[in-house]
């Protein structure tokens, strides 16, 4: 007869993928129940430590850990690439934002400069000065997290990402402490994008995961290119009310075009027989993880755009801003669907061998 403890434990095991449970469930249950006498099994529940260990195993097997099914291996590769690209985007955005701010302040009229510096110099109290300085500096940890992750310093990258994402939660801290705060959809989307990145980083970069690698491009060059794209779009669209955020769209679009061009080039070479063996290897243009990760990234930027659009509508901004923000949201929504479909097709066609522990980063 099945005891209550066994029933409860089997309920916990439902966190594991069905394919994993089909192989392991009976064995795991047998191992677990050995520790308990039969007469006490109706009075006990699995401890939270046991539940946590199964949850960790579930995350690991769903993100390509040892023993994971092929689709979970693909899911892991997708989430890892998303985390890396998202950290790159966040880092470049913060770097560009501060570089532009400093460039402006250095040439700004004295009154504007004093206004900017006054926030940090403790005129409104030392605590306020420290807080504002931290809020200004901490997001730059995204850049350090990017460097750490590409050097395979996973824990360092995680700690730095958490530090970088903290300022986005200040509105929640202000709200909880009764401070003056106005929470809008944009704030929530902004905080969510940072913390989703942290979550992806912590879940997918387990000990079985391969080191993070950017497809085809050097990490420093990628950071510089994204910064140039962001800075360029801000300079070209000077009057944009949310110019820094709009540049996220530009970068995602550039990434998608670059991937599509590489895919077409790979197809041509494949048809003409020029493609070397392993052209569509893991991390390559034919790897379904690439469009799927770009789809996730587009979805995150779309959430930010939608939040900003709502804010612009509330603020009664001129119609041109609304149309621009709406057009960006529409483009991003289209990208999410197109990339999702493309990734799904590539995965089904099985053009690429699924990513392995030795997954390559070469796109060429």
């Amino acid at each position: 007869m099945t005891s209550l403890l066994e029933k409860r434990y089997r309920r916990v095991l439902r966190m594991l993928p069905a394919s994993y449970r089909a192989q392991r469930e009976e064995e795991i249950v047998d191992t677990y129940l050995q520790d308990f006498d039969e007469y006490e099994q109706d009075e006990l529940r699995p401890t939270w430590r046991e539940v946590a260990s199964i949850a960790a195993l579930a995350v690991r097997t769903r993100t390509g850990g040892a023993g994971a099914a092929p689709r979970h291996v693909l899911a892991g590769a997708t989430v890892r690439l998303f985390a890396l690209l998202s950290i790159l985007l966040h880092g470049a955005r913060e770097l560009t934002d501060r570089a532009l701010a400093l460039a402006y302040v250095s040439g700004a009229p004295a009154r504007d400069r004093d206004l900017f510096l006054g926030v940090f110099d403790g005129q409104q109290g030392v605590l306020s000065g420290v807080r504002e300085t931290l809020l200004w500096l901490l997001p730059l940890c995204w850049v350090a997290a990017y460097a750490a992750l590409l050097r395979d310093r996973r824990r360092t990258a995680l700690v730095l990402s958490v530090l970088a994402a903290l300022p986005a939660l200040m509105f929640a801290v202000d709200w909880a402490t009764g401070g003056p705060v106005r929470i809008d959809g944009f704030d929530i989307a902004f905080a969510a994008s940072g913390w989703l990145t942290v979550l992806a980083l912590s879940c997918a970069f387990h000990s079985d995961a391969p080191a993070a690698r950017l497809p085809a491009v050097r990490p420093g060059l990628a950071l510089m290119a994204v910064c140039v794209l962001m800075g360029g779009s801000v300079v070209l669209w000077r009057d944009g009310a949310d110019s820094v955020w709009s540049s996220g769209t530009v970068c995602v679009l550039a990434g998608v075009l670059w991937w599509a061009a590489a895919l077409v080039r790979g197809d041509r070479r494949g048809r003409s027989g020029e493609a070397p063996a392993g052209e569509a290897s893991a991390g390559g243009a034919g790897d379904p993880a690439v469009p799927l990760a770009l789809a996730l990234l587009s979805l995150v930027v779309l959430a930010e755009r939608t939040g900003m659009l709502a804010l612009l509508v509330q603020s009664r901004m001129p119609a041109s801003y609304l149309y621009a923000a709406g057009a960006q949201a529409a483009v991003l929504a289209g990208l999410v669907v197109a990339l999702g479909v493309a990734g799904g097709r590539l995965a089904r066609r099985g053009q690429a061998p699924l990513p392995t522990r030795e997954e390559s980063g070469a796109l060429e």
């Binding site: 191992t31 046991e50 195993l57 097997t61 040892a66």
Partner: protein
């Protein structure tokens, strides 16, 4: 795995399989005994480690048995697992020897004896100045 080295848990699981094939609960008990109760394997952790060791071909399935209507799998150490364990044990032994030498040197310094020149008692001595001259 080899490039990252064995985790403490993986090390103890391999040690637990050196003398005979064991099933999951047998491994949990043996690791508990081997580590003097310091390493208590949760089930999720155990199966994560078993999956990884099997994927790296350091362990393999020995046999399957039915136990109270449920499946019980026994695992055994492979030759590659034995080699990895031996390498890790040697690495740890080397670390232990180094630590012992340093502790010995520190005690020597505290009692007025001169520590060996190659292993200064504290990390405060600059490498280029070890043995005097400053």
């Amino acid at each position: 795995m080899a490039s990252r080295g064995l985790t403490q848990t993986a090390f103890f699981v391999l040690v637990a399989l050196t003398d005979e094939p064991r099933h999951g609960y047998g491994i949990v008990q043996e690791v508990d005994a081997l580590s003097g109760g310091r390493v208590q394997l949760r089930i999720g952790t155990l199966y994560g480690v078993l999956d990884r060791l099997a994927a790296d071909e350091l362990i393999e399935l020995d046999r399957e048995e039915a136990h109270q209507g449920r499946l019980r799998r026994y695992y055994r150490l492979t030759d590659a697992g034995e080699a990895a364990l031996s390498e890790e044990a040697e690495r740890m032994a080397e670390g232990a020897r180094t630590a012992a030498r340093r502790v010995e040197g520190r005690r020597g310094g505290a009692t007025g004896k001169q520590p060996p020149a190659a292993s200064p008692p504290h990390g405060h001595v600059r490498p280029g100045l070890a043995g005097g001259g400053a």
